[in-house]
Symmetry: C2
Subunit: 368 residues, 2 copies
């Protein structure tokens, strides 16, 4: 089976498609739950499936340090290790080295860093990142890039983007094509249209199976992010999936889908679930708040997840106050379910030609 | 439907029976998972059911402080609040006040204490304990007693037991009989045969729906505990269930079933699951141990729980090292499943007249 992307419908710039991979199909737009260290935090793989998730993300940086890529390979790969036979996308490790590792240093060869866990020294080159992702058995491999910090001058952004371009070329050469597996390039260029154009153009020459948009959601604000999406997605081939990395809030997702993004990942729904916050059809709630102490209503009456179907807000509040693990379990379950239903609703609306109305109705719901 | 206990078979002193309650039937011997604050720690109610559990325990002390018994009642009772429609046994609160609360003081009226959470003052009398358990909608209500500390002189043990006897009489009067609900008396008397006899005799006059054996597993050792069980269970009516409180290891359970105990509860399987320990058919493992780092075997090849059917020891070790919540989730799932299968195996063996052989084979397995 080839790795492929087919478009079922467009509505304005919004797209409904299907990603076909060696590990199954993914209807798009899709949200990838983040399974950093080989587990979506506080969730069994069964529970992740029950949220409607079709694809999850693994973090190369965490997995290369623990349990190590070679060990994951000996255990039969990440799919088998974490009981997720479906598609898995792995990042390249670069982003998290820059945000988590100690004494990191970047040069033409790659990134040299010390583990935040034990201080051990590591070198991550484009070639080694591809090898690690291969060992993990990633369905979708990401090229090694530098996520250009924000703000950056045009000169800094150009230099960073061109390094990423050279690394993308090396990553492409190091990638081992396998039936149903794919590799995505990552467009950089900060907030500069000419640089985004140069980056996208160079990546297209490599004919990746998909294209990510990187260097956004790093502090530039939603308006600028949307402006960059408007520019960047036009530069990408229509017959390949588009993945906006590390985004975002439900509103970010709706706006990005409107700008023809197909794939997302973000720690927001899982992290929020561990800090008592719930994304619902009525907006964001903090379940630690005392106003929920006697609230016998379900968390979100429009949701059928375990938390909403079987429990009350008062019970969730109780669990959080008691620091019971079931609190994060149920809120993570809900948040991931909410994100998945947002994606399912968006897809259905695009197929029906009513995406604008869907966004308006969803946003109106958040205010009630 | 009456609250009843029927014996299906005996094998030596070991008993296989069925407890019938307003909330469903419980085959015995049975192990009750501890759901302290309205949740079995790290488990959804669904997951607890999947372990084979038929009855769970709730802690009056914790629930009376948070979210309070009145609040649980307003939420429709503990069954509804925690999504456990099956039978629930609640303790009286006395034991945990003595081990957790601050500035506790006991007199004839009951126990005066300050909450370990906020220092607020409370008074728990036999009547209030019954009222709280009624508000929680406990299927099985326990009388308020004093768990006699160990060691205790004969005089201390006698005084303590007689206070518990008077409280049991007051608890019985305060209990509101309801179809399918029951109340258990608690035999005290420390390690003194004459006191156990006096306690059991006085409780039998109250004609409780079941009898617990208290004041054991408090430091007297397994040999003494078994000796006390041999004495105490003979003093109890054969047609009523017998519940050994707060016990214990798998070996304790096998030995106590041989001494005609029908019901158990203990935090051991759940607490162990949060500290990397697993009870298996090959004995106890500490999954934090580095020897599991490359162990691709299932935790227990004789177990069909999620942890054993879908994952490796190496993955469990990885989760624990990374402090991922899924580690405690999977180990708690396994430990509760192991305890339930131990009970199911014991019951099947008793019904087949092979309990001695079952115990021998199980114990032999722990050594391999």
């Amino acid at each position: 089976m080839n790795f492929s992307f087919t478009l079922q419908a467009t509505d304005g710039a919004a797209r409904a498609g299907t990603l076909t991979t060696a590990h199954g199909e993914v209807p798009t737009p899709t949200f990838m739950a983040v399974g950093t260290a080989g587990t979506v935090k506080a969730m069994t793989a069964e529970a992740v499936r029950a949220t409607g998730a079709k694809i999850v993300l693994g973090n190369t940086y965490h997995l290369m340090l623990r349990p190590t890529a070679e060990r994951v390979a000996r255990l039969g790969g990440l799919h088998k290790m974490m009981d997720w036979p479906g598609p898995i996308l792995t990042d390249s490790g670069g982003f998290q080295i820059m945000s988590l590792a100690k004494l990191r240093k970047m040069d033409e060869t790659g990134v040299i860093f010390r583990s935040h866990l034990d201080g051990s020294a590591h070198h991550l080159s484009p070639e080694r990142s591809m090898e690690i992702q291969h060992l993990l058995d990633a369905t979708i491999t990401m090229v090694l890039d530098e996520c250009t910090p924000f703000p950056a001058t045009h000169e800094e952004a150009a230099k960073s983007m061109r390094l990423s371009t050279r690394w993308a070329q090396r990553s492409r050469r190091a990638f081992v094509p396998r039936e149903g597996y794919g590799q995505f390039g990552i467009v950089q260029g900060s907030v500069y249209e000419d640089l985004r154009k140069e980056s996208a153009g160079a990546l297209r020459e490599q004919n990746f199976e998909g294209y990510a948009i990187g260097g956004l959601a790093v502090g530039e604000g939603q308006e600028m992010m949307f402006a960059m999406l408007d520019i960047t997605t036009k530069l990408l081939p229509a017959d390949k999936p588009r993945y906006l990395m590390g985004v975002g809030t439900p509103d970010d997702l709706l706006g990005s889908i409107a700008r023809s993004v197909d794939m997302f990942d973000c720690v927001m729904p899982t992290r929020a679930g561990r800090t008592a916050r719930a994304f619902t059809s009525h907006g964001v709630f903090n379940l630690r708040n005392a106003r929920f102490i006697d609230d016998a209503a379900p968390l979100d009456e429009n949701c059928n997840c375990l938390a909403c179907a079987r429990h009350t807000r008062a019970y969730l509040h109780h669990l959080i106050r008691c620091e019971e693990v079931l609190g994060p379990i149920l809120l993570t379950t809900h948040n991931l379910t909410y994100y998945q239903s947002l994606m399912q609703g968006a897809r259905a609306a695009i197929l029906a030609g009513g995406y604008t109305e869907y966004c308006a109705a969803t946003r109106a719901g958040w205010e009630t």
